[in-house]
Symmetry: C2
Subunit: 218 residues, 2 copies
DNA sequence: GGTCGAGATTATGTATACAGAAGTCTTGTG
DNA sequence: CACAAGACTTCTGTATACATAATCTCGACC
């Protein structure tokens, strides 16, 4: 693996997991020394992060982007548009069997979650498989790409919302409804189920953070 | 201006204007010598182009991306989703006076176009102002960013469709309808006018290219 | 005492040198 | 004559050295 790829993955992870706070300046010499590489591959990594919107190239050095409450609203507005359309397209073009299987798994998810130690990883992996299945079903690489670039920010937001077992179970049911609608080949229903799920998710995030979270564009 | 910026702008223009054909390999030494810069800023430029989707970083060297008929369909599918939503949001949040002015200008556009030498530049500049006004009105930087990344590819497609004066006049009328709906504060109408315009544009492009254009991902 | 300016310092932007990998051409053998 | 193996060529990936620009600080002058 290339050094620039490692640097990119490392920094991306640090930003998404909030180990690098918004507003942090990523000086080239400092970071290249920290990661044990030279400035050249680091610059490529920073360029990719900036293209994704995780950092901004303001004046001197690149700084870690913040996420304000307005950003979350904007993000979900776009997300509703893209994922709603994607769900509708998947219902038209997807393979029903695939989504029937995912629906079954999602209906079983709450049982796994309510166990002793909530297996967040398993749940997120399952949701990720649903996302991947939708991406493949829509047969639209540009739409898929747009959603992928959104998901980076959403994962970041997810860390802000302390997902309890209750919300996870509800979310699993909502995802199951989406999968069911897609499997049934019903575009309108798939879009409606998606919109519903996203509104619930956004409400949950906002309720969790009645007090404003870390603020905004560094 | 930085050397990497100049290289990026130059290559981007060459690709959009089809001076660099799809499938062309952009070797680093070759291009850096052609542009009179060193490999370092050139690599940054290539990275930006690849992030935008104008080039792909397959195996050895980056190659200029192609646009197939399927790509155009996918592109317009996403475009309909994003611009439809944007028009609806602009109708809700935009300043009516701005769009009334744009509507008036667009209604006068056909007179300018039907002159001796069709002033394509003026028309495209006017449409660009409408896009900019919508971007500003929606108050959603993520949606605006998604549309900006789309427009790069659309400009490229525009060069494939030989826009005659007749089509330009019709397009101006369609744009005027969009501006009118936004000025009227009618989201559903604005979205409908946008969807109508995009379908007409796509039909025109497809009719122009009954014979398949340059094909596919390089 | 405050403010403006010049110098120093440090960071980014660029060029170049080096290393590793991949592809191609050539040559030898079956 | 065809196929395979090896060396050579060439390209990308990385490191480092140098240039340039911006910022911070210190000092002088008002």
């Amino acid at each position: 693996m290339r050094a620039s790829d490692r640097a990119y993955a490392s920094l991306r992870d640090d930003i998404i997991e909030w180990r690098l706070a918004p507003g942090t300046v990523l000086a080239e010499v400092e970071q290249s020394e920290r990661l044990g590489i030279s400035r050249t591959p680091l610059r490529e990594a920073l360029g990719r992060l900036t293209a994704e919107g995780l950092t901004t190239a303001g004046g001197r050095g690149v700084v870690v982007t913040g996420i304000s409450l307005e950003d979350i609203d904007e993000l979900f507005e776009l997300r509703e548009t893209l994922e709603g359309k994607a769900a509708a397209l998947a219902a038209r073009r997807g393979d029903p069997a695939t989504f029937e299987g995912l629906q079954r798994e999602l209906l079983n998810a709450p049982q796994l979650i309510s166990g002793n130690h909530p297996a967040l990883h398993d749940y997120y992996e399952l949701v990720g498989r649903l996302d991947t299945a939708i991406d493949a079903a829509i047969s639209n690489s540009y739409l898929a790409q747009a959603m992928r670039s959104l998901r980076v920010h959403l994962v970041r937001i997810r860390r802000l919302a302390a997902d309890d077992a209750c919300r996870l179970a509800a979310a699993a049911a909502e995802h199951a409804a989406i999968a069911e609608a897609i499997a049934a080949g019903n575009p309108k229903l798939a879009e409606a189920a998606t919109v519903l799920h996203l509104h619930r998710s956004l409400s949950h995030i906002k309720a969790t953070h009645a007090s404003p979270p870390k603020e905004h564009h560094g």
